[in-house]
C-alpha cells in the first residue's frame, strides 16, 4: 500500500502536526519507503497466531483501592506554559 499527498495531510491533521506543502511532499516519499519496507510482512503465514499482548507473561498487578498519592497540584502545573492558579490555560474551546 502507498499513500498519496491527500492522505499524508489527513494523517498529519489526525496527528495534530501542521505540515507545509513541501514537508507533505517529502513525507509522502518517506512514508511510502517505510510502507514498502513493511510490506514483506504479508509473506508470513499468521493464520491461527495470537497477536502479542504481553511480551513477558505476567499477571496484572493489583493494589489496594486507596488514595496513596496526590495533593500536588502546584507540582503538576509547574511546567505548564500558561496557568492561572492551579489551572492549565488553553485557547477558548466553547463559545
Amino acid at each position: 500500500m502507498s499513500v498519496d499527498i491527500a492522505t499524508v495531510k489527513r494523517v498529519a491533521h489526525l496527528a495534530r502536526i501542521r505540515v507545509t506543502e513541501e514537508e507533505a511532499a517529502a513525507l509522502q516519499g518517506e512514508l511510502n519507503a517505510i510502507l514498502g519496507f513493511v510490506e514483506q510482512l504479508n509473506e508470513v503465514d499468521v493464520a491461527g497466531v495470537e497477536p502479542m499482548t504481553s511480551v513477558i507473561p505476567m499477571a496484572v498487578k493489583r493494589r489496594e483501592d486507596v488514595v496513596d498519592d496526590g495533593g500536588i497540584a502546584a507540582d503538576i502545573v509547574r511546567n505548564a506554559p500558561l496557568t492561572d492558579e492551579n489551572y492549565f490555560l488553553v485557547p477558548k474551546v466553547v463559545e
Partner: protein, 492 residues
C-alpha cells in the same frame, strides 16, 4: 585524560576503599574533563557540577564512616530520557523545552540510593528515535573513535549516543541508556563499550520518557562487563509504580563473572548470516565462536526463521506506540507552546515546531497504521508476527540453548551525515541484529570484540533467556578476556 577518569567502576570502588583518592577528587577530575572536552563530542546537554560535588561530598562522609554503598562515589552520566527531579529532562526534544520534572525516575533514584554521583544529562536521538544521534535537537554527538589516519567525524550510534560517547571518552565512569530496538547495544558496539538491555520488566520504566512502551527498557553502558554488571544490579528493581516491572528478584550479577562457561550451549543462528555482510563482521563472529569453543562451551547451529521480519514488524509496532505516547505533547501541560487561533491550531503549530523530522515521520506512520481500516492489516499482523519471533527463541531455549551469539551491528560506525538521504529505511537497517531481542522481550548484551580494518570497534551480541542476565555476564566476560578492551586514541 587524567588517570582518575581512566579507572573502571570496579577500579574506583577499590581506589576509594584504599583511600587512594577521595570521591570529591574523582568527581572534580570528571567535571574538569567535561569542561575541557565536552565541546569536542557534544555528549552532555546539561552538566550538574554543584549536585555532583554535593553527592561526592556525601560519599566521602560515608566512606569515612565505613558505610560505603554499592556505587559509592561513582560519577555517572544520565541519558536525557530519564526524569531527574528539578534537572533538564527533555528527551533531546524541543517540544519539552524547559521541562524540569517534579519527580525522579526509579532507575536514577536507585543509582543515587546506592551512592552514584550525577554529572549531568546526556545527548540522545530525539525521543530515542534514531541510530546515529543525529536526530537530537541539540545536534549530533561525535564518536571519540576515528578511522585510522582519518579525521572524519563519525556517529557514536544511537539513540544512546551521548551515553556511549561519554563512557568511551572518559567523560563519565558509566551511563544510563535505554533500548527500544538497539539503542543501548548499537552505540556500545560503535564505541567499544559494553551495553546490556535487560529483560523487559527488569528495570522500571517509571520516569523514563516513553517511546514504545512494550519495547522500552533501561540498561547501562560501561567500559567493562563487570562495570555493566555492577550498574545493572543497582538499576534493576521491582517497582510498584510500573505495572510491567517484573516481580523477580535481582541477583548479584557480578558473582556470575569469572564462572566457567564449560558445557554452556551457545546457539549460532543461521539467519543472522545476512547477504552483503562485511567480511570483517563474519570474521569477528567466527572469532567469537572460536573463543567459546576454546573455553569449553558447545556451539550449536540453530534456526530463528522469523528473524528477517523483526525489523519490519518493529517499524509498525514502535511508531504505533510512539504516536500514542507522544500525543501528550500538546503545548498545554509542559514544554513548548506556540500560540494559535484556536486549540487545534495551537496543537498543530506547537507539535510542528516542537518535533523534529524523524519524530514527525514516526508519529505519522504510527497514526496511519492505527487509523480506521488499517489496524488489522498493519498493527494486528505485526503483533502476530511478533508472537512468531518470540516463539522462535522459545523453541531454541527449550532445546537447551543457554545463550545465542550474533554480531551486534551490520557495520562499524559511519560518518555524520552519511546516511541522511531520502530513504529512512537505510538508517533503520542498523538494527537488524538487535531489534529481534526487543520484539521478544529478551536480554541482550553487546561486548567489544575487535577492530575493523579501519581501526573502528566492532561488537558481538549475546542473547539470553528471560531474566537470565547472569548467564550473559558470565559468557560476555569470555569475549572481554579473549578480545581485550578498546580505548580510542585521544585526538581531543
Amino acid at each position: 585524560m587524567s588517570e582518575l577518569t581512566a579507572l573502571t567502576i570496579a577500579g574506583i570502588r577499590e581506589g576509594l576503599r584504599r583511600k587512594d583518592f577521595s570521591a570529591v577528587e574523582l568527581t572534580e577530575a570528571y567535571l574538569a574533563a567535561i569542561e575541557r572536552f565536552n565541546q569536542a563530542f557534544n555528549a552532555y546537554v546539561a552538566v550538574t557540577p554543584e549536585r555532583a560535588l554535593e553527592m561526592a561530598g556525601e560519599s566521602d562522609r560515608r566512606i569515612a564512616e565505613g558505610e560505603a554503598r554499592a556505587l559509592e562515589g561513582v560519577p555517572l552520566g544520565i541519558k536525557d530520557l530519564f526524569c531527574t527531579k528539578g534537572i533538564h529532562s527533555q528527551a533531546a526534544s524541543h517540544v519539552l523545552d524547559g521541562f524540569k520534572p517534579p519527580y525522579e525516575s526509579t532507575v536514577t533514584a536507585n543509582l543515587w540510593r546506592d551512592g552514584g554521583v550525577m554529572l549531568g544529562k546526556l545527548n540522545m536521538d530525539e525521543f530515542a528515535m534514531g541510530s546515529s544521534n543525529e536526530t537530537s535537537y541539540y545536534g549530533p554527538v561525535v564518536n571519540p573513535w576515528r578511522r585510522r589516519g582519518g579525521n572524519a567525524q563519525l556517529v557514536p550510534g544511537g539513540s544512546s549516543g551521548g551515553s556511549a560517547a561519554a563512557v568511551a571518552a572518559h567523560l563519565c565512569a558509566g551511563a544510563t541508556a535505554t533500548d527500544t530496538g538497539g539503542s543501548i547495544r548499537q552505540p556500545a558496539a560503535f564505541t567499544g563499550t559494553v551495553g546490556i538491555k535487560p529483560t523487559y520488566g527488569r528495570c522500571s520504566r517509571r520516569g523514563i520518557v516513553a517511546f514504545a512502551s512494550s519495547l522500552d527498557q533501561a540498561g547501562p553502558i560501561a567500559r567493562t562487563v563487570r562495570d555493566a554488571a555492577i550498574m545493572l544490579r543497582t538499576m534493576a528493581s521491582v517497582d510498584p509504580k510500573d505495572t510491567t516491572s517484573a516481580d523477580v528478584e535481582v541477583p548479584d550479577y557480578e558473582a556470575a563473572i569469572g564462572e566457567s562457561v564449560k558445557g554452556l550451549r551457545i546457539g549460532i543462528p543461521r539467519e543472522y548470516r545476512v547477504d552483503g555482510m562485511p567480511e570483517e563482521i563474519e570474521k569477528l563472529w567466527q572469532a567469537g565462536m572460536d573463543w567459546y569453543r576454546a573455553a569449553g562451551a558447545e556451539l550449536v547451529e540453530i534456526s530463528l526463521p522469523h528473524t528477517k521480519y523483526a525489523l519490519p514488524a518493529y517499524y509498525i509496532v514502535a511508531p504505533a506506540e510512539a504516536s500514542s505516547n507522544l500525543a501528550r505533547y500538546d503545548g498545554v501541560r509542559y514544554g513548548l507552546r506556540v500560540p494559535g487561533d484556536d486549540i487545534v491550531d495551537m496543537y498543530e503549530k506547537t507539535r510542528a515546531a516542537g518535533f523534529g523530522r524523524e519524530v514527525k515521520r514516526r508519529v505519522l506512520i504510527g497514526t496511519y497504521v492505527l487509523s480506521a481500516g488499517y489496524y488489522d492489516a498493519y498493527y494486528l499482523r505485526a503483533q502476530k508476527v511478533r508472537t512468531l519471533i518470540k516463539r522462535d527463541f522459545e523453541e531454541a531455549f527449550q532445546a537447551g540453548i543457554d545463550a545465542i551469539l550474533t554480531p551486534a551491528t551490520p557495520s562499524s560506525a559511519f560518518g555524520i551525515g552519511e546516511k541522511a538521504g531520502g530513504d529512512p529505511v537505510e538508517m533503520y537497517l542498523n538494527d537488524i541484529f538487535t531489534v529481534t531481542v526487543n520484539m521478544a522481550g529478551l536480554p541482550g548484551i553487546a561486548v567489544p570484540a575487535g577492530l575493523d580494518p579501519a581501526g573502528l570497534p566492532l561488537g558481538l551480541q549475546l542473547i539470553g533467556r528471560p531474566f537470565d542476565e547472569a548467564t550473559l555476564f558470565r559468557a560476555a566476560q569470555v569475549i572481554e578476556d579473549s578480545a581485550g578492551s578498546f580505548t580510542p586514541e585521544a585526538w581531543w
